[in-house]
C-alpha cells in the first residue's frame, strides 16, 4: 500500500479566485500541499493565502492564524512574523504575478503535520519560490500556526489577501501521508 496518496488535484482551466479541498479524509497522518500557480495581480510575485476548516463546516475566518518566514527577495534577505490574521499569509507559497513572463508559475510545498489530531493546534512548514527570471525573484521558508485543535477537514487557498484570481494553468494538489 502506498504511503503517499493523492487526495485531490485542482487544475485551473479558467481563472478562479478560490480553490477548496473539502471532506479531507481523516485517515492520514500528515498532509502535503503542492502548488504551481500564478496570480492575476500586477506584481512580480504574490503570496497565496490559506484558511482551514474543521467539523464539516466552513473554513475559519477568525483571526486565528499566525505565521513566520525567512525570505530572499532579489538581493535582500529578511524574516519576520505576522500578527493574528484571518488567514495564513506568510506561509502560503509565493507564486508569480502577472508582471512577469506569462509562462512563469511559482511553486511551493506545504507540510501540515498531524492535521487530524484533535489534541494539537495545526502547524505547518513550507518552502516556495517564484519568478526566477524576473527582477524580483522570491524564495520563502514559512511556518504556520492555526490556533484551533480541530481536525482539519477543509483547506481553502486564495490569492493575495483573499483578492483576485489564480490564472488558468495553475495547479493545486493535496497528498496524504500515512503512518503505517
Amino acid at each position: 500500500m502506498a504511503v503517499i496518496e493523492a487526495i485531490a488535484t485542482t487544475y485551473l482551466g479558467a481563472d478562479a479566485a478560490l480553490i477548496e479541498f473539502t471532506s479531507i479524509p481523516q485517515t492520514y497522518e500528515h498532509l502535503q500541499l503542492r502548488i504551481s500557480a500564478r496570480q492575476a495581480r500586477a506584481s512580480e510575485s504574490v503570496e497565496c493565502t490559506i484558511r482551514l476548516g474543521t467539523g464539516g463546516g466552513a473554513v475559519d475566518t477568525g483571526n486565528n492564524y499566525y505565521s513566520h518566514r525567512i525570505y530572499g527577495y532579489g538581493t535582500t534577505e529578511g524574516s519576520g512574523g505576522g500578527t493574528a490574521r484571518a488567514y495564513w499569509k506568510r506561509i502560503g507559497p509565493v507564486v508569480s504575478g502577472e508582471s512577469v513572463d506569462a509562462a512563469q508559475y511559482g511553486g511551493g510545498v506545504i507540510d501540515i503535520l498531524d492535521y487530524a489530531n484533535a489534541n494539537k493546534n495545526t502547524t505547518a512548514l513550507s518552502i516556495s519560490g517564484s519568478a526566477l527570471g524576473a527582477t524580483y525573484p522570491w524564495v520563502n521558508i514559512g511556518s504556520g500556526l492555526w490556533d484551533n485543535t480541530g481536525a482539519v477537514d477543509r483547506i481553502a487557498i486564495a490569492a493575495y489577501n483573499y483578492s483576485g484570481d489564480f490564472v488558468r494553468g495553475s495547479e493545486f494538489s493535496l497528498y496524504g501521508l500515512k503512518s503505517s
Binding site: G78, D111, S179
Partner: protein, 179 residues
C-alpha cells in the same frame, strides 16, 4: 515496490524522554531516510526547548552544521563543528502557546553508503502566537555526521537530556526507495 515506506511511527501516549529506532535496514532496502516530527517538550518555564539527534548512538564530537535561521526581523547564518549531536532544533515548550507543536522534516540521503560522511538536510519550526523577537523560530540546517558508517540507528531527545517530549508528540521515519 512503493517508493515510500513507513519504517516506524510513534505518537507518544505519555511524556517520554527519548525516541529511537534501531535496526534500520542498510542492505539496499531503502536509498534515503526522511524523518518528520510534530514535537513539544515539558521544559519549564521556558518558551522553547532544543532537540538533538544522534546517529548510530554516536555521542562523540562528530557532528557539524551550517544553519540559516530567524527569530526576529533579521535572519542569521552560522556554523559549528565538533559537536556531540546533530541538532539544537527548537520546539515549543511549556511557556509557548498551549497545544502547539513544532514541525520538522529531516532528510538523510544515501544513508546506507559506507564511503561518505552522512549528510542531513533539516527544516524545523518553533511556531508560536507571537511576533516578539525570540518567541518563535524558523530554521533550515545542513548537518553532517563525520563518519562513513551506514546509518542503522537514529535517536532523538532533548539536547540537554533533561526534559521530556510531551504526550501527542509524534515521529515518523520513512524509507525511500529509488527505481
Amino acid at each position: 515496490m512503493a517508493a515510500w515506506s513507513v519504517i516506524q511511527h510513534d505518537e507518544l501516549a505519555t511524556t517520554t524522554s527519548s525516541w529511537s529506532k534501531t535496526g534500520i535496514p542498510t542492505d539496499g532496502t531503502y536509498d534515503h531516510l526522511c524523518l518528520k516530527w510534530s514535537m513539544r517538550t515539558n521544559r519549564s518555564p521556558t518558551k522553547y526547548d532544543e532537540m538533538g539527534l544522534w546517529l548510530n548512538n554516536d555521542t562523540g564530537s562528530n557532528y557539524s552544521y551550517t544553519l540559516l535561521g530567524a527569530n526576529s526581523a533579521t535572519p542569521v547564518s552560522y556554523n559549528g563543528s565538533s559537536l556531540a549531536m546533530a541538532g539544537y532544533f527548537r520546539v515549543p515548550a511549556t511557556a509557548s502557546l498551549a497545544d502547539t507543536f513544532g514541525s520538522a522534516t529531516i532528510w538523510i540521503p544515501n544513508y546506507a553508503n559506507s564511503t561518505n560522511y552522512t549528510q542531513m538536510i533539516v527544516s524545523n519550526t518553533w511556531p508560536n502566537n507571537s511576533t516578539t523577537d525570540n518567541e518563535w523560530y524558523l530554521q533550515t540546517h545542513a548537518c553532517m555526521w563525520n563518519d562513513t558508517a551506514a546509518v542503522d540507528e537514529i535517536m532523538v531527545h532533548d539536547a540537554n537530556s533533561t526534559y521530556d517530549m510531551v504526550q501527542y508528540s509524534s515521529i515518523t521515519l520513512y524509507g525511500i526507495k529509488g527505481a
